[in-house]
């Protein structure tokens, strides 16, 4: 079971498909962003992230 990231929304998951976008995920990712409070986070706003969770910064 490897850790993957969504190639669209960058969400980190162990699933083969992103649970949010339902598109294939990739094992080739780097960087880590943990969004705790998307309502109050400028970083979340900058990246249009609305769901708390772990995200990769770059996915190939």
């Amino acid at each position: 079971m490897s850790i993957k990231a969504c190639t669209k929304c960058n969400l980190i998951t162990t699933e083969e498909r992103c649970p949010v976008c339902d598109i294939p995920t990739s094992t080739n990712w780097s960087g880590l962003l943990i969004i705790i409070d998307p309502e109050r986070s400028d970083i979340a706003r900058e990246l249009n992230i609305n769901i708390p969770g772990e995200y990769a910064l770059r996915v190939r």
């Binding site: 960087g31 943990i34 705790i36 986070s41 970083i43 979340a44 706003r45 900058e46 910064l57």
Partner: protein
Amino acid sequence: MEDSINSIYALKTSVGQEKNVARMLARKVKDSGIEVNAVLVPESLKGYVLVESSSKIDMQNPAFKVPHLRGIVEGKNAITFEEVKRFLKPEPIIASIQKGSIVELVSGPFKGEKAKVVRIDESREEVVLELIEAAVPIPVTVKADQIRIIQKEAD
């Protein structure tokens, strides 16, 4: 962008433990209700995690007692949001390399060597290099993420 009350703090960690520290920290601040909105681990920033918060970070708070978390970077040179943006959208390095660029290898058997870019294969994200200090210039093919640009433009 609207004015923000958030600041970005840099915390020192043991090198290689950045993600573990970030995950544990995120869990602990959530549990204790401390105001931290996001934790960021840029790949290029070894030994640091960045924390976005609207309140001053109190390292004495038990939530910040995390293994491999070494302390906070003090100082008046706060990290601006503009600087953070660079980490948020890392440009694929291959897009900014050109033929003739001078690069340094950051991993692999030639780590630390400087080289000149002789060819770029964008679809495979590979570059062909010529080591500068080698007596005989042998082309070396590496992945784009194994190099760091020293000088972008060819002379």
